[in-house]
Symmetry: C2
Subunit: 133 residues, 2 copies
């Protein structure tokens, strides 16, 4: 299977497949006589694994860990679970940071008349020294 077919089958762009190979996230693909990368079904399955992990927000190093566990038949599911839970905590931290921004912005927006006049509590708040200053 060519890289293009593997790309379609896995949902990972050819560009990213080469990149993942270059950083060692996935093993180097076999090559045909003409130098084309050649993929088997198991390779595609691994690529799909990577893509789905990316869709769930795992970073490349985290995916490297997941792939290690994936191919380790003597793995403990507790290790996988721990990894997933740590990732959930990271995601929730990011959500909480973003939510904090939204809350602040909402309170500012609520104070802004939103009319033709220039007076705007949003800008005034931004220019004033804040809590951390």
């Amino acid at each position: 299977m060519n890289i293009g077919e593997a790309s379609k089958a896995s949902g990972v762009s050819a560009k990213m497949i080469r990149y993942y190979e270059s950083i060692g996230l996935i093993p180097s693909a076999d090559r045909t006589g003409g130098g084309y990368r050649s993929y088997a079904d198991t390779d595609v399955q691994r690529l799909r694994f990577v893509r789905r992990a990316r869709d769930l927000g795992f970073s490349i190093p985290e995916i490297a860990d997941l792939l290690g566990l994936w191919s380790d038949r003597s793995r403990k599911s507790a290790d996988v679970k721990r990894l997933a839970q740590a990732h959930i905590e990271g995601l929730e931290q990011r959500i909480s940071d973003l939510q904090q921004m939204v809350d602040t912005l909402r309170s500012l927006v609520a104070c802004c008349a939103g009319d033709d006049r220039p007076d705007c509590p949003i800008l005034e708040t931004l220019e004033k020294p804040g809590i951390r200053d």
Copy 2:
């Protein structure tokens, strides 16, 4: 005021001050005879404005817009409000994407025994074709 002092006073690193200047987000600073950048209080105020906007998750282009409104005495507060509301929507989209990941991961984690055995529904789900395949 030197860049170091302006940095302390504004909470923006010297590195970022130079960067903001290089991309045209802030005007080029005056220079002393020795070539040092020199900042006045109004410059520091602008830097603080930028930092606070960054803290609220605004991108550089958005901050450029905000700075434009900030220095425009004939601005309409409605324009500022619109910009802030659009930003809130962007943030909420990101939150919703992250929350979707968390929800999926939570449901997987809930199915994982988390013991010494290798069987793990998290890995199994990642390796299987998903909704979008």
